[in-house]
């Protein structure tokens, strides 16, 4: 074991619930600032206490409004709540309009809330690369619940499943025919389905259909996903939604699924960081090299296909370094 390093000032500030320090540290984590590694390490033992509730679903189903309704309910119950709203970055300009704050009603003096908008910055899956670490910062800061709203997601954006402890998939009536829901992806990660905008016609049918679907979707545990209907306009169904979330959290803790799921999530995270590290190093090693330029000339002249060029780069630069097994 290494000698335990002193706790960095930034970590002490987070544990002392310094909001400005938290805001600044989140920025550094987002910007992949190298100086934050010892701070994150020092804070890690103070994490793992918050319930991380993911809200995901297609564009415009009312995720932000539901977050606002849940926020009001949780503050009334005296819970300290962190909120992360992810919105997409433009693949063209890199810029982003982060609009999740618009839906949030709050007293700016209420220190029991910390809301942060995050741009996805090219990360696929409805989250940003740094989202997991920001969740952990809010956890270490003492937030009991973290509400994590993804960018509007498509069928394959299921990364939230590996980050949140309870996943709420938000849908609205008339999103598509039944075949849509037979397709793989989003529907498989739901612990709770929320049919939002249930003031619109078709909500009962959608909820009924989802309830039938739940019985047919295999799971790795014995939890049977609940289906609730909610309307943020009428203010109905919010209590039921939170009750369903709490029931799942309770199930996780009593069944041992939490530990099991947690280990899977941690493994995925370690492997992803490892992959990120290796990729960055491996790509940087060949980027701009004369060898790459030579290969590109060949590809451009259609003498070598792109895959053969990549194979050649790999063979020359990485394959030999592998230890023999």
């Amino acid at each position: 074991m290494r000698r335990r390093p002193p706790v960095p000032a930034a970590a002490r500030a987070i544990l002392a619930r310094d909001r400005l320090a938290l805001a600044r540290l989140i920025t550094k984590v987002e910007n992949r600032d190298h100086g934050v590694a010892p701070v994150l390490q020092a804070l890690y033992p103070h994490t793992g206490r918050a319930a991380v509730i993911g809200l995901t679903g297609p564009l415009g189903v009312g995720k932000s409004s539901l977050v606002n309704s849940l926020l009001q309910l949780l503050r009334k119950a005296g819970k300290r709540v962190g909120v992360i709203g992810v919105d997409p970055s433009s693949p063209f300009s890199g810029g982003s309009v982060l609009g999740d704050r618009i839906r949030i009603d709050r007293d700016p003096a209420d220190t029991g809330i910390f809301f942060r908008s995050m741009a996805s910055r090219g990360h696929p899956g409805g989250l940003a690369a740094a989202t997991r670490e920001v969740v952990r910062l809010l956890d270490a800061f003492g937030m009991e619940v973290v509400l994590l709203e993804t960018a509007g997601t498509g069928q394959v954006d299921v990364e939230i499943g590996a980050v949140a402890s309870t996943n709420v998939v938000v849908l609205v009536p008339h999103l598509g025919d039944e075949v849509q829901s037979l397709k793989a992806g989003l529907f498989e990660i739901a612990d709770v389905f929320c049919v939002n905008k249930c003031d619109l016609p078709g909500a009962d049918g959608a909820a009924r259909y989802l309830a039938e679907l739940v019985g047919l979707t295999p799971r790795s545990d014995a939890w049977r996903p609940r289906v609730v209907q909610a309307s943020t306009v009428l203010g109905t169904g919010i209590d039921e939604l939170w009750a369903a979330v709490e029931a799942h959290e309770a199930y996780l803790r009593t069944s041992g699924s939490f530990e099991k799921g947690n280990r899977t999530r941690l493994e995925a995270e370690v492997l992803e960081l490892y992959r990120e590290r290796i990729l960055a190093g491996a790509v940087a090693q060949v980027e701009g090299s004369p060898e790459l330029r030579r290969l590109l000339d060949e590809v451009e002249a259609r003498r070598l296909d792109p895959r053969a060029a990549a194979d050649s780069l790999y063979e020359r630069n990485h394959a030999r370094r592998r230890p023999r097994s």
Partner: protein, 138 residues
């Protein structure tokens, strides 16, 4: 896919203080700043100075842009500036757009508003100014 730039994006809060409900201008500016590669936190309508400052601090922005058409700028802008000062965040620069008479604009500049845009200001000019006044990252 766009190449990821080495420098982190500028984060800017765009909000409408006060009670007027016309946010076309604010939205167009938000979009132009987005297209210039910035991360724009759009806080929307009817924001109090307290809400604006709290949002700016939580989001750790490098710049605040306020749009106002109600005529209450001489009350609301100094209040935002004072709150920023009292929260030790006076380093976050403030720019403004809307219907602001020249004489008021002069006074507001003296109070610390870094730039003021009236009707007819070009988006290029706003983007250029936003880039140049944004708080540099340490």
């Amino acid at each position: 896919m766009a190449r990821e730039s080495r420098r982190p994006p500028i984060r800017v809060l765009i909000a409408k203080p006060g009670l007027d409900g016309h946010d076309r201008g604010a939205k167009i500016v938000a979009r132009a700043l987005r297209d210039a590669g910035m991360e724009v936190i759009y806080a929307g309508l009817r924001q109090t100075p307290e809400e604006i400052v709290e949002s700016a601090l939580e989001e750790d922005v490098d710049l605040i842009g306020l749009s106002i058409l109600s005529g209450a700028h001489m009350v609301l802008f100094p209040r935002v500036l004072n709150l920023l000062r009292s929260r030790k965040a006076a380093r976050i620069p403030l720019f403004a757009g809307g219907i602001i008479p020249d004489e008021d604009a002069r006074k507001l500049r003296k109070l610390g508003v870094k730039a003021i845009f009236g009707p007819g200001a070009s988006l290029e000019e706003i983007v250029r100014t936003a880039r140049s006044i944004a708080r540099p990252r340490t």
